[in-house]
């Protein structure tokens, strides 16, 4: 056998003689050390409970698992709690961040476009919630004929007449996201059509129509319900909404005028 000790019998027999005798423990030292050990043990029995390697390891694993679960539930809980947040809420940035993460994790252009459409719809819903929260002042409450009373002309869309700066900002954001989502959806639709996947293309077309209708209902992208006619395809699936200058956002001068009305100040 390789590296065998069998051929070293003489050396093995000589080993006890090679170790100096002075290294042995004297009986006095041995007794003294024994006494110290027994004293230490007696003290330890009172003060310390021995913990084994695996017990320590189990405790460590349990501690890490509990910490990880706590962190996970905190993150998941915050993300869940933020799902109903609207602009101005404390958790709204969390909601936006969660959406960004979801978008970055999207595996294909199609799923990304669908997600963008979903988030754009979210923005529209947020706009509705914001509008519902804003008290409508009596000065511009619509009269019996449906026209607002006061300084605002009857041609001004009602949604614009009571906008707070927060709403204006939310409207700009919603506009942008609806635009982006429609662009992405149209691009995906064109790709699907070129691939001959008409079934999926139809689904995307339905999604586009749905989003356009919802945006139109909130006077986004052109201010009317029929704004799908305002989009033009410029050759290679380019999508550019033709904005109506009057209705897209509230002009600062208009906003100032509105805020000067009694009961319309954002604070």
């Amino acid at each position: 056998m390789i590296f065998s000790a069998k051929k070293f019998k003489k050396e093995v027999q000589a080993l006890p003689k090679l170790i100096p005798a002075a290294d042995a423990l004297t009986s006095q030292d041995q007794a003294r050390i024994k006494q110290n050990i027994l004293l230490a043990i007696a003290r330890q029995d009172v003060t310390e409970t021995p913990v084994g390697f695996w017990t320590r390891r189990r405790q460590l694993i349990l501690r890490y698992t509990v910490s990880a679960a706590a962190v996970f539930s905190l993150v998941a809980g915050t993300a869940f709690a933020s799902s109903n947040a609207i602009p101005g809420d404390l958790l709204y940035p969390v909601k936006i961040t969660t959406e960004k993460v979801q978008l970055s994790l999207a595996s294909s252009d199609q799923s990304k476009a669908v997600l963008e459409a979903q988030f754009a719809r979210q923005r529209i819903v947020e706009l509705q919630k914001l509008a519902a929260q804003t008290p409508v002042p009596t000065a511009i409450m619509p009269n019996a004929s449906g026209n607002p009373v006061g300084l605002i002309s009857s041609s001004t869309p009602p949604a614009l007449t009571i906008q707070t700066p927060l709403e204006t900002q939310a409207r700009i954001q919603a506009n942008m996201e609806v635009n982006d989502a429609l662009t992405a959806l149209k691009s995906v639709q064109a790709k699907l059509q070129s691939r001959g996947d008409n079934k999926d293309a139809q689904i995307i077309a339905g999604s586009i129509l749905n989003l356009q209708n919802q945006a139109g209902a909130q006077h986004l992208l052109g201010g009317s319900n029929n704004n799908q006619n305002n989009y033009k395809d410029h050759g290679q699936n380019q999508y550019k909404p033709t904005r109506s200058p009057a209705a897209t956002t509230t002009r600062p001068s208009q906003l100032r005028k509105l805020n000067d009305l009694p009961g319309l100040r954002p604070d």
Binding site: K17, I19, Q44
Partner: protein
């Protein structure tokens, strides 16, 4: 009373049984420590630590197929390594003038030559690498198997076999007065 019975009693907290285990192994463990620790006082402190650690470990020690001596030697090896780790992390400052005689004419060879044959062989043996001496001690004086020594030292069987082979070759040189 045999070792297993003593271990069982010590496991139940009987200090007297643990004392008997100490009496059985103290001398052997001390010799093993001295292979690596030159300072006698330090070696005694380490011996004490080893038995205290062993007592602390007894409650979680599995007694089925237990090899108590190997377990004790494993604790000894770990404690000696811990000692060197601590020493390495907190090196003491030694004055050059006190400890080193740089210009001195000390020579190990000359010193060995001045001793009797038996003494010179012992002296030469102490000059062997500590790992060689550990393996020789565990294998041929404490009569542990190769795999037990491998477990104690935290090495593979092959590595222990190789170290043992090289160590025995060195011992042959010592016996032939070639080292």
């Amino acid at each position: 009373m045999d070792i297993d019975e003593l271990v069982l009693q010590a496991k139940q907290g009987k200090a007297e049984a643990f004392g008997q285990l100490y009496d059985l192994f103290a001398q052997r463990i001390f010799k093993y420590i001295r292979i690596k620790i030159q300072d006698r006082q330090q070696a005694e402190d380490i011996l004490q630590d080893i038995f205290i650690k062993a007592y602390k470990g007894l409650p979680v020690l599995r007694t089925d197929h237990l090899n108590f001596p190997a377990w004790l030697y494993k604790i000894a090896a770990n404690t000696v390594n811990d000692h060197f780790r601590k020493t390495y992390r907190a090196p003491t400052v030694i004055g050059m003038d006190e400890e080193f005689d740089i210009a001195g004419n000390y020579s190990v060879e000359r010193e060995i030559q001045s001793l009797s044959d038996g003494e010179s062989m012992q002296k030469a043996f102490t000059q062997l690498p500590p790992l060689y001496k550990q393996v020789l001690e565990l294998r041929f004086l404490q009569e542990f198997s190769l795999s037990e020594v491998a477990k104690i030292l935290g090495k593979s069987n092959l590595a222990v076999r190789l170290i043992q082979f090289r160590a025995l070759k060195k011992v042959r040189l010592i016996l032939n007065n070639d080292l």
